[in-house]
Point group: C2
Chain length 335, copies 2
Amino acid sequence: MKLASLKHGRDGRLVVVSRDMTRCIEAAEAAPTLQAALDDWSTAEPALRGIFEQLDSGAWPGEPFDPAQCASPLPRAYQWADGSAYINHVELVRKARGAEVPESFYTDPLMYQGGSDAFLAPRDPIPLRDEAWGCDMEGEIAVVTDDVPMGVSPADAIGHIKLIMLCNDVSLRNLIPGELAKGFGFFQSKPPSAFSPVAVTPEELGRAWRDARVHLPLLIDYNGQPFGRAQAGEDATFSLADLVAHAARTRALCAGTIIGSGTVSNKDEDGGPGRPVAQGGLGYSCIAEIRTIETIRDGKPSTAFMRWGDTVGIDMKDAQGRSIFGRIEQEVVRA
Amino acid sequence: MKLASLKHGRDGRLVVVSRDMTRCIEAAEAAPTLQAALDDWSTAEPALRGIFEQLDSGAWPGEPFDPAQCASPLPRAYQWADGSAYINHVELVRKARGAEVPESFYTDPLMYQGGSDAFLAPRDPIPLRDEAWGCDMEGEIAVVTDDVPMGVSPADAIGHIKLIMLCNDVSLRNLIPGELAKGFGFFQSKPPSAFSPVAVTPEELGRAWRDARVHLPLLIDYNGQPFGRAQAGEDATFSLADLVAHAARTRALCAGTIIGSGTVSNKDEDGGPGRPVAQGGLGYSCIAEIRTIETIRDGKPSTAFMRWGDTVGIDMKDAQGRSIFGRIEQEVVRA
């Protein structure tokens, strides 16, 4: 089942979307908003699924679906917590600044509490006041949970993952070192993220959803060129269920909690840092990584962070080459 | 004007509360929930104020108000960002571990993104799975904003502060060092906070609200004994408006954003760390501070963190000795 929120007020208008994403139909009889559906998922889910079946079979025609009319599936959320499951990303970033990766990072997930009060729509521009802040995209997988009890095990956490999305976790790289040095984590360096036009239930991914990981390449384009093709199912030290369990260790999580995977990142086949897509490699899901590799290789980075007018596309396709979540497509604009 | 949310579903039922907090009246005609009121504050505020005037004058009798029936004013919120305005608290904590306070801390506020998906009710227990985690209270002032534009100045931020509350920012002290060492800030170490039964509009504080600070003592009781009496208007390096502006530097803030002051903390009259209330001092708004002072003095702390059965009360009174926000009263219980 595929769900989206058309732009409407602060919380959008929930629609059910056909599998091929050409059509959609209002879901108000099941729930007016996605948050309302998640608040009462056991009731809303079968009702939504009933609508989906009518729509997808063609019994109900619906209306044309336009991803450009979409807000993020949850236009605002009560919780957005972002992990860092792809330790290759962490290793690279630390290596570039000559820091070690502590042994605990391989068993204890990194996670930060992100701002969730207003996400960008998947086709909306990224407002940036100052290019010197070092704007970067981060391509990620994100999941949405129902109510998760405190102390849930990773095995039980899987069942609490109700929806899957793609994410552009926008980062202001040049504000990060100063903020992290203060010790309280990210704040100004993490402006609003954007999510894919469509959120899908796990079974929609078929065999690509296993071990609470998404076994498909994450397609990142930068200024219209292929930039990242990393396999999201590979090199994820922690599964999305591990991350949900980590978040719930000391507290319950409210329905509608979004948990992110962190930047998807693969090692090269020879174990080294990845090569650019243009050189036959899997590339990168953020600019910081290629800059890190340039720094390790040349002593300094040569790829600039995003400037006003730069664009990023984030997508994921099924075995038949069809977009699963719809495409995130954003331009950085002066704010 | 005073507002509260009676326990009801996930978001409570908004009520207007009389100034003396003996009576309340449903506000559904103005807005069903406090978040809904904040989402459209310019419409809801005059409607709520009309109800408040009828109630407070006695024209409308209302029903008895019972703080024990209250959820936190926003039972869940889209954003909770907690500052650290009282640099004395930071100085003490760092001094105890032999660390310097960077010069920038006096001009650039510390702030972390907190979890906001489910706050504790003001009289609800604090669920704690493991006493070894080192449970602590933190008494704070918190403000609620309407929509705040990106890049707002501190002077303009004042006008976006619509409501004021007290906060118990529950912390798991023994999880903090490990989490901060990972570099991504607090997560598991900050389980849900609780807020006072009542949120009040700034003018309700009269002359005690000036310079975007609350010039009244914050009354902390621990296991029924006076523990903290710090003046919330003193020693706040940053005003609440400064903190709102800090939060909005790189992004707009959604209506219903809650910004916290950090633990209220005063220096002693002689400039040294404060003495306990029992010794004529102003005491502490959290246990970590007295432990820090014990460590500086004796080489090790002697006051334990909160255990199952320990209780904390947080209150603030007007010049006539009447509670302004209602009292936070919580017991730590085994979860």
